[in-house]
Symmetry: C2
Subunit: 355 residues, 2 copies
């Protein structure tokens, strides 16, 4: 049994370099390089010959050498942060696809909720010279504190960084204020008055996702003449089914008059659904439920969970387009909202009989 590993030395021998192609084709490495980079100043003849050899030898240029010389940086690095990995992962997948279509490679770093993504980014910048950065989730406080040390084009997805006013940081997200407000209005219009909100963590930074959604919730209440201070029950919660489950149980144990729950993520909503069931209630007969994100999963729970659908395809697409453009051209950063949609399904009961 031949189990010897190929040594580094042997592997190297197998790797073609630009020199091999030059020798084989009879041209100089300069000319080969020009063909590789698709420059106009090469004869058709030379180009064809060299392309043929490249094809035949299965040669691909070494990107390290390439990037060393070029001022351009290397791969785009994506930082995925936070517990709600299901949602962010689905965006990540699309981001990778769009980037790959544009021939860009993607480096990924998964961070924990407590990690400081900007510090990590700074380290990556100095070590790897990425050409661009993409933050999937992030704490605006971290950006406020440390982002000025970062100079590569960057995009924050799922967060609104306009007020931070960095000229190399764009941001794309759902209008969380309006999203939170719309979901709440839906519940209110269905006659609910005692509503529990199972949200994410609040922060002292302006425009943080959960803060914005909560503000929307409050304003929706006030427009209905309700006082949030008095009637609103808000609890902070990690974006996971487990935490959604536990928080919901706690709430239901304490507040017997709750008739609706608004969870700031579908994954939490799924936990809430089970918790409501375990407390002997049912959705929507006893308690109504609405989630956030619009994950496919909400189509298949019993009952289907109403939710605020974020457009992950647009979030990914716009972000990648903006990033790639700004990597190549000096354009100002932008801050855009991607439209959302309230998906009314089977988890909300109309208490008032009138809508």
């Amino acid at each position: 049994m031949e189990n010897r590993q190929i040594t580094a030395w042997e592997r190297r021998r197998l790797m073609k370099t630009i020199k091999d192609i030059a020798d084989l084709s009879g041209y100089s490495i300069g000319t080969v390089s020009r063909v590789l980079n698709d420059r106009p100043d090469v004869s058709e003849e030379a180009k064809n010959k060299i392309l043929e050899i490249i094809e035949q030898e299965g040669y691909e240029p070494n990107t390290h050498a390439r990037h060393l010389k070029q001022t351009k940086g290397s791969a785009v690095t994506v930082f995925v942060k936070g517990a709600d990995s299901t949602f962010l992962n689905s965006i990540l997948e699309k981001i990778q696809r769009y980037l790959y279509e544009n021939n860009e490679e993607v480096r990924v770093v998964f961070l924990k909720e407590a990690d400081n993504e900007v510090e990590y980014a700074l380290k990556v910048c100095q070590e790897r010279r990425p050409k661009g950065l993409l933050f999937l989730g992030g704490d605006l406080n971290n950006f406020k504190k440390g982002f000025r040390h970062i100079s590569v084009p960057s995009v924050l997805i799922t967060g609104f960084a306009e007020k931070l006013d960095f000229d190399n940081l764009s941001s794309f997200c759902t209008d969380d204020y309006e999203g939170g407000k719309a979901a709440m209005k839906n519940l209110l219009e269905n006659g609910h008055r005692n509503i529990a909100v199972i949200g994410g963590f609040l922060s002292d930074a302006e425009d943080q996702v959960s803060n914005n959604r909560l503000q929307g919730v409050r304003d929706a209440m006030q427009e209905k003449g309700l006082d949030p201070e008095e009637t609103l029950c808000y609890v902070q919660c990690r974006f996971s089914s487990r935490d959604g489950y536990e928080k919901t149980r706690e709430i239901l144990a304490e507040h017997k008059d709750i008739t609706a729950v608004f969870a700031f993520s579908d994954i939490t909503a799924v936990g809430a659904l089970r918790a409501i069931c375990d407390c002997g209630y049912s959705v929507p007969e006893d308690i109504s439920l609405i989630g956030y994100d619009g994950m496919e999963l909400t189509e298949y729970t019993v009952p289907r969970i109403s939710t605020v659908r974020q457009d992950i395809d647009q979030l990914a697409k716009k972000s990648v387009e903006d990033l790639l453009f700004r990597i190549s051209y000096p354009r100002a950063s932008v801050h855009r909202f991607i439209p959302f949609e309230v998906m009314d399904k089977e988890s909300i009961r109309n208490l008032s009989g009138q809508k």
Copy 2:
């Protein structure tokens, strides 16, 4: 409003190189390099001085230059293939963590079910010279056909490649044959005889995940004296809730006598659960259900879905350990099963009254 992008030129000016550190410290770049690489042959004095400057300047070596010189390759590349991204993503996350802890960077490529992961890998090998490859999911046929062209240490997770006998391809997975068998036995022991299996795609390659699980299912039946040809209803299905839903509806419409469904992934099981409900049945009273993977989600559905729990932490950990070891030392590839566990929850009804 100052919105001018920092140009490549300006950015370069800001980037420290080893030369800057050498000048600042009064030592040569050779000595700085030795400190950087933690070599023993440097005086404490030089080391301290240089480290101090490095710290102060926030210098980090450029990896491209580093890798260009070193025979070692660059980042480990992970290929994530297939529709069941939820499950594979949770492994990916852990893989990235373990690799990061070992100071390795991770490149990620998400592939569609129909993509040939080995062809993609080959391309990446030639372009980027990765030091190792990790396949999350994959079709053994593709490996059989093309893997011999790949010489870097690699690991296949969620697939058993022992019979392919490549000396640079290890594999770690759940024993799918035993997993399928155990789940099936559970249903049989609970008195079920008309069982539908909603599996993945079958392949003509030996040891393909779904083939193995199905074989386990068949053998479990035969041990009970049942003829799989006659009584088993197997349908192929993409690993998604949507497909699980649709396939289950089709099956229930045709086979009125089904009393249990075994889905080859939890995500499909969730779709199946909803389908069963939409057909007017309930789980487990009318129809029992068991999934596969052991995702957290199965804890929060109504009812909780019994499942075959795969140990994603061990899958990730063992794979990374093996890969890193083989990157540095000439060790033979290995093929290991990671123990699974049948999680009995609320979705299986005992028909026979005796277990």
